[in-house]
Every structure is written in C-alpha cells, then in structure tokens.
C-alpha cells in the first residue's frame, strides 16, 4: 500500500466563482464563471445575454433612419461612430454624394468620441488596478468633450447626430473655438496621465507580461482595435478602408509588439495623441456647404448586400445589410468588436491570478451592450 504524501493531504481543489453579473470589474452586466484553484484561474467562461435587446431583430422591422438610433445603444461610448457606420452603409448603398463638410465634421466628432471613450477607459483601467484617482482625471477631460457634444447636438452620450445623408444639424458656432480649446487643454493632460499611472512601478509590474496575446492568436480570434494592435497586428480600418475624411489626414497606426496588457495600454494612450492630431488637421479647414443632402422620407435600399466597416474606439465595427429593396433590411448583422475581443479572454487569462484577470479585462475595454447587442 502506498503511503500518502503530505501533498495528497493538502489537495488543492478547484472551485467555481461567479464574477458578475454585478461586479465592479465587469463594467456592466457581464457574468464570468471562473474556475479557480486558490488564486489561479483555470478557466473563464463568459455568460452573456443579461442585456440582450435583440437589436438585430428590431432592425428587421425598422426603417433605416430608426436603425441609427438603435446603434447608439450598442457601444454607447463610441455612439457617434456607430451611427456613422449605419449612415455610411446606407449612403454607399444608395450611392449618395455626401458634401465635404459633412465628411469632415463626422471625422472630427468621431475622433473626439474616440478620445472621450479612451478617457473613460483610462480612468476605469486605473480603477481596476486599484488607483481610484485616475477615474476622476479621466472624467474631468471627458466632461469638456461631453459639453461640446451637448452644445452640438443636444445629447452627451447617445448622440444621434448622424442621419443617412448627412448630419441632423449644422455645428454650433462655438464648436471650432471649443474644440481648439479642448485640444490645447488635453495636450497638457496626457503627460499628466503618464505621470500618474503609466510610469508607476506598481502599475508596470501589474501589467507587463500579463495576459499575453500573440499576433497569430489575435488574428485567429478576430481581435481588432487596440487589442489587436497591442499584439503587433496592423488592422486599423481607418488606414485600410478609410471612410469619411480619413483619407485626407495623416496619422500613424499605433502598434506595439509585446501583446501584453501594458502594450494594449500604451496603444490606447498613443491613440489619444493620434486622434488629437487628426482633429487638429481638420478643425481649421471645415469646408463650407450643406450639412445634409436630401433623401427620400422613406429610404429604400436597392436589392443586394452591403458591408460597412468603421473603426470604433474598441475596434472594427462591421455592419452587414441584406436588402430586398424594402424600407427595412431583410437581415442586419452587427459585427461588434467587443464580442470577438471577449472570446479571447479565456485564452489569455488562464494561468494568471484574479488580479491579472481584472487588469486584462480592463485593457480589452469591454462594453457589455456592445457584446450583447
């Protein structure tokens, strides 16, 4: 008979733990079923659907103007870019000629939305690794943007500023002045972000080498946006399939090669600079002209299939319309960036500690309505 060793007396057992649906680190009603051995994560299984509203089904009965409003409620942090995706898709299908003014304004507001989304992400990222103060710094700068949005279109978060054919209203007379003020202000604040969090030794220890995603896996998992670019996979839709006025501006695609949490963090911080530079290039030369072209009251898309990609703050948002020539799409599929990015969580979080999972999840920058649609 074998004598039991000391280790068999202290057998470690795996157990389940429910992270969410109400949990501070899941940023919404995401439920993760974790299998844990002590502190070490063995398996992460996302359980979705807590706020699934079946937007795709609702789209099948709505007109294209109404669909724009639904997309706000997907990735609410880059609401304007989502709106833009639908509008661009419809305009391309109708082959509408969009005025230059609209294109430029859309691009400016899109990049401002990206900055605002990244500001919030940065604050939450700090909070997830325990530095609560970052949250307020992020929100301070985001507040300026929200004020600009409010003045422009009356809404701060779910903007509904784009309509098929252009913009709902022209920009406010103060817009250019305020955006310039913001750009000048924010240029002094990004270095402050770096001083507070990026350079911190504890922060770097928490994030470097954690949640490593290789380039091959990033492609295979369909990652996009900063998550994929942190692994060195060049996938910026703004570069490869430029839309609106993005073909007129020069900007760099931010790439890092390490693929860890810190690399994804750095990509987003660098994207703040790039977005600022895009805004700076455009803000002084907004062309004069109409802010909207006339479309039919009931938009009917020609029969066929249309695909439109845009780069939201989280990655590639795709909109796939199958039209049969009626006022509503026959089938409309949103390819949301968060859904694909979530699918790789199990792959990169296994083997880490609970704290690592939280840090990793923060840099995936998940917005749950975007996943649940």
């Amino acid at each position: 008979m074998e004598t039991p060793t000391v280790h068999s007396n202290f057998k470690s057992e795996e157990y389940f733990i429910n992270m969410g649906p109400q949990h501070p680190a899941t940023h919404g009603v995401l439920r993760l079923v974790l299998t844990i051995d002590g502190e070490i994560i063995k398996k992460v299984e996302p359980d979705l659907g807590y706020i699934h509203r079946s937007i795709e089904k609702m789209c099948e009965r709505d007109s294209y103007q109404q669909i724009v409003h639904l997309t706000d409620r997907m990735d609410y942090l880059s609401a304007n870019i989502n709106n833009e995706a639908v509008c661009l898709g419809v305009e391309n299908a109708l082959q509408l000629e969009i005025p230059e003014r609209v294109k430029v304004i859309r691009t400016i507001i899109g990049e401002l939305t990206r900055i605002s989304s990244h500001c919030l992400w940065w604050g939450v990222m700090g909070m997830d690794v325990g530095a609560i103060t970052t949250y307020f710094y992020g929100f301070r700068d985001r507040e300026m943007l929200n004020d600009i949005f409010e003045e422009t279109c009356g809404a701060r978060l779910t903007m509904n500023y784009n309509v098929p054919g252009g913009l709902m209203f022209d920009i406010h007379p103060n817009f250019v002045k305020r955006v310039k003020k913001f750009v000048a202000h924010f240029k002094t604040k990004i270095p402050e972000y770096d001083r507070l969090l990026t350079g911190n030794v504890i922060f770097q220890k928490r994030t470097k080498g954690v949640g490593v995603l290789s380039k091959e896996d990033a492609i295979s998992f369909g990652a996009s946006g900063p998550v994929a670019r942190g692994s060195g996979y060049s996938c910026d839709v703004r570069k490869y399939h430029p839309y609106s006025a993005l073909d007129k501006v020069t900007f760099n695609e931010c790439l890092e090669t390490e693929g860890d949490t810190f690399a994804r963090y750095c990509v987003r911080i660098r994207e703040l600079w790039e977005s600022l530079s895009i805004v700076e290039q455009l803000i002084d030369n907004i062309p004069q002209g109409e802010h909207r072209v006339k479309t039919n009251a009931v938009i009917k898309l020609p029969k066929g299939e249309f695909y439109q990609k845009v780069e939201t703050a989280r990655g590639e948002l795709g909109m796939y319309i199958i039209s049969t020539g009626t006022k509503s799409p026959y089938r409309l599929k949103f390819r949301s960036p968060g859904f694909s990015n979530l699918s790789l969580l199990n792959h990169i979080a296994v083997g880490g500690k609970i704290g690592d999972l939280v840090a990793t999840m923060a840099t995936l920058d998940l917005v749950i309505p975007d996943i649940d649609r």
Binding site: G49, R61, S220, F221, G222, G318, K333, R335, F339, S340
Partner: protein
C-alpha cells in the same frame, strides 16, 4: 488579388461553385454544405489566398433555407471574400464548424446556434450563449413568433 483571380483560383480547387456579386464590392462564393470545411481550410492555408481573418460570421434565414455567411479577409494580401453556405433542412440544420480553422468562429457559431438553431458538427462547446437553455425557438428566424415581447408594425 482581384475578384476575378480569386474566382479562377477557387474554381481550380472546387469546380462548379456559384459566384455572385450581390451588388457589393466583394466576391460571393456559394458552397454546398458538404464541401464547406474543405473550401474554408484551403482558403485559410493556401498562401495565395491566405484568408486568416474571419471578421464576420452571420446566420441568415433565407426563408426556405437557413444559411451562414462568412466574411473573410487576408491580413497579408488584404483582399476580402464572402463565403455562403445554405442548408434546406429547417428542422435539424447541420453544418460543419470552422472553429478549428478560426478560433473566433467558436463564439460566433454559438451565437448563430442560439438565434438560428443551426448546429455545427465538431464544435467544441455548442451551447446557447445569450439565451437560457430552456428558451423555446430561435428568435432571429423569420417564422419566430412571440406575441408578448415582439412588436410587429
């Protein structure tokens, strides 16, 4: 690679497939369900096509048939192709999984299973993703009826 060249190349692997444009800029390939996996692994592994990025996987209810649409992109050549597959069997639709070729397909196929009821052979973990296990019916099918929650105009 242009759409014509792609079409020529794919025809050399599997002859008599149907090609359409569907009013979009992409090449659409219609493949019978039994040749799906073969074509997909060719598209991924062949160095000339190199479609390593599955960016969209959508289930579609075509009325008489259920189908899946795959949007593929190559990260080296930057060309895009759309692959479509259909199954006539609405009661027990079965297709081959592509989750062994692209890992992202695992989640997307679960979503399709959840909303269209299409089963995928060899899928590692085919469970409902959004809805509860006891949910009856598949909501994104065109014949789905729910008198309480759906507002029909």
């Amino acid at each position: 690679m242009t759409n014509e060249a792609l079409q020529e190349l794919i025809s050399s692997w599997i002859p008599d497939l149907e090609y359409t444009e569907e009013g979009s800029q992409f090449l659409n390939v219609h493949v019978p369900s039994e040749r799906l996996h073969e074509l997909m692994s060719q598209l991924k592994n062949n160095s000339e096509t190199g479609f390593d990025y599955l960016f969209c996987l959508s289930g579609v209810d075509w009325g008489e048939a259920l189908g899946v649409v795959y949007h593929l992109e190559s990260t080296t050549h930057r060309h895009i192709i759309v692959v479509k597959v259909k199954t006539e069997d609405r009661e027990n639709p079965i297709l081959d999984t592509v989750s062994d070729i692209w890992k992202t397909a695992e989640f997307h196929e679960r979503e399709v299973f959840d909303f269209f009821g299409i089963k995928f052979n060899n899928h590692p973990n085919l469970q409902r993703l959004f809805l509860t296990d006891e949910w009856e019916g598949f909501p994104l099918r065109k014949d789905y009826v729910d008198d309480i929650n759906m507002i029909i105009k």
